[in-house]
């Protein structure tokens, strides 16, 4: 029997390394899938205040992936604590609450309010605009990442994860900043800013013009970022981006991830997460991997240090 338990720091040990990506999971999945079988449950990002979302169309299909500009519609933390949290307390899987805010201060206030029973951890969605820094997303720069995470760290003892954005030039530097600020784990990564145009109507396919690309198309990019971050920090990295199958998940585990998040794939196959769990177990059996820790160092890069400079001509 393979032991899939994974230690994500600060006492949070998941029974298996698979969980939903924020914004691709909600109460509805409980009608289809046994949520107790999932490593952890991660909510859609919430904000302290009430927020609407973006104009429709909010999604569109592109080759091997999707664009979304859902935005972060939120009914606020009060609503979350009163209505959503009790629903998820039915399940034994730890609940991670994804939270976002427009300023460092507001991030800290939000984190403080999530010190509630039934919340096992906080995922800071810092890929959102920082109104104090000209609207640039916190996670685009090490400095603003550090500020947001440090402010949250001061007010919570819960496991605190920083979810990074791929829309940055040096994700390893951002990862190190999040670690230095006290993050317990990193989630790598959010969606990649993209767009598509309908050449018949001559309009962008999204109401918001641009949106985030997710799904299989981004996997090689977010896998690379996971690898870079895992080498840059010593806290666990949770890989995310284009994972549809157990094989995809294993690539991330070999790249150094301690766990993975499945997003878009759940829209296409609601059982994607349970299939990935079963498939990882089968792979481990076949390869003689007895426990998650055995993935560390299993990747054979052929003695060579990768030549990053040459890589992307």
């Amino acid at each position: 029997m393979v032991d899939l338990a994974t230690d994500l720091g600060r006492g949070l040990v998941l029974a298996n390394p698979v969980m939903p990506a924020s914004g691709t999971f909600a109460e509805g999945l409980a009608k289809v899938v046994d949520l107790n079988a999932i490593g952890a449950l991660v909510t859609k990002t919430i904000t302290a205040e009430l927020r609407g979302g973006n104009p429709v169309p909010r999604v569109s299909e592109v080759g091997n992936g999707m664009l979304n500009s859902i935005g972060i519609p939120s009914k606020g933390i009060d609503y979350f604590l009163a209505e959503t949290l009790p629903f998820f307390r039915q399940f034994s899987s730890p609940l991670i609450v994804s939270v976002s805010a427009p300023s460092v201060e507001a991030f800290a206030r939000a984190a403080e309010r999530l010190n509630a029973d039934g919340i096992a951890g906080i995922e800071a969605n810092i890929s959102c605009p920082n109104i104090e820094e000209d609207g640039k997303a916190f996670a685009m720069r090490p400095s603003t990442t550090e500020q947001a995470i440090a402010a949250m760290r001061r007010v919570t003892d819960l496991p605190l994860w920083a979810k990074l954005t791929p829309n940055t030039g040096d994700i390893a530097a951002v990862a190190r900043a999040a670690e230095a600020a006290g993050a317990d784990a990193l989630v790598v990564a959010n969606t990649i800013l993209a767009m598509a145009i309908d050449i018949e109507t001559m309009r962008p396919t999204l109401g918001n013009v641009m949106g985030g690309l997710s799904g299989p198309a981004i996997k090689p990019i977010t896998l690379r970022m996971t690898y870079q971050c895992a080498r840059a920090v010593s806290i666990p990295v949770i890989g995310c981006g284009g994972i549809s199958t157990a094989s995809d998940a294993v690539e991330y585990l070999l790249a150094g991830a301690g766990a993975v998040q499945v997003g878009t794939a759940t829209f296409l196959r609601p059982h994607a997460m349970t299939e990935v769990i079963a498939g990882i177990a089968a792979y481990c059996e076949r390869k003689g991997i007895a426990r998650m820790a055995d993935f560390a160092g299993a990747l054979d890069t052929g003695m060579r240090e990768p030549d990053v400079m040459e890589a992307a001509q």
């Binding site: 949070l12 029974a15 079988a37 859609k44 429709v56």
Partner: protein, 282 residues
């Protein structure tokens, strides 16, 4: 530090019983019903066949050489028989997804998810209803006629179409005991003024204490106005582009007018059937 529960801790894992089916269904038939529409009949099992009128399924459409539909496509339940386990869909071959669906052959299989969403209601006081639809909207309304019959509620189906060749589901409504009124673009009878007169007449004759519509903004607006004026109960089945179909992605929102306030609701989760009074023009 807080106590953290992990999955293994649970005392007694109750057996999980899904209420929405995610399964491969066998294709019984997938034939053209006219030049544009196909009828897909699936052997989907009792769970799926428990779908109620107005509920829908999210269907994985096969990729072909030309088309690679990435999302599933939502399709209204055109028929569902718990006795046989069969579920039917009536669809118009339009774009990537439905072109893919059109390639299914009997004996093959297709991945379906459902039943999903909130279907039609037939409140106790409603004794005779009018269903008004056009095109693919009729696929959504047809099972309502059967539901009404089973509850002893009289049905008038106003079936709108471009021309006689484009008529859909007339036999289906007749078999369900509905009185069918046909209105056509080709002879002008589908003009709003004409449909309005027809609805007023039905109401005057006591044959319309419930209004149901789907598939045309113009007809929805008309019915909404009349329902408000005449004090008739009403529901509308809405469409919006969907990804998950399960209330998770928030892509399928529409604005509704709830007591004067504009509220965004997810069509897949709060609907697809909504109070007629709440609908806003699309």
């Amino acid at each position: 530090m807080r106590q953290i529960r992990i999955s293994d801790d649970r005392a007694e894992p109750a057996a999980f019983a899904p209420t929405v089916v995610d399964a491969d269904a066998r294709v019984v038939a997938n034939d053209w019903v006219n030049a544009e529409y196909k009828l897909l009949v699936l052997d989907a099992g009792p769970g799926a066949a428990a779908a109620r009128a107005g509920q829908f399924f999210n269907i994985e459409c096969p990729a072909t050489g030309e088309d690679q539909p990435f999302f599933r496509r939502p399709m209204s339940t055109y028929a569902a028989d718990p006795a046989t386990g069969q579920v039917e869909f009536l669809y118009k071959v339009t774009g990537a997804g439905t072109r893919g669906l059109a390639t299914l052959v009997s004996g093959g299989s297709v991945r379906i998810l459902g039943p999903l969403g909130v279907g039609f209601s037939l409140p106790r006081g409603v004794r005779s209803i009018v269903v008004l639809g056009r095109g693919v909207g009729l696929a959504t309304l047809a099972p309502l006629a059967e539901l009404a019959r089973a509850r002893g509620v009289a049905v008038t189906a106003i079936v709108s179409a471009r021309s006689p060749e484009h008529l859909l589901s007339v036999a289906r409504f007749e078999a369900a005991g509905a009185r069918v009124e046909i209105v056509l673009d080709s002879d002008g009878s589908s003009a709003p003024a004409n449909v309005e007169a027809l609805l007023r007449r039905l109401h005057a004759e006591g044959r319309a204490d419930g209004f149901y519509t789907c598939g045309s903004n113009r007809l929805m607006v008309l019915m909404q106005r009349l329902a408000a004026e005449l004090g008739v109960f009403g529901e509308v089945a809405m469409e919006q582009q969907m990804a998950c179909g399960l209330g998770m992605c928030f892509c399928c929102v529409r604005n509704f007018n709830v007591g004067g306030e504009t509220v965004a609701k997810r069509v897949c989760w709060d609907g697809p059937v909504f109070p007629l009074a709440e609908a806003t023009s699309w």
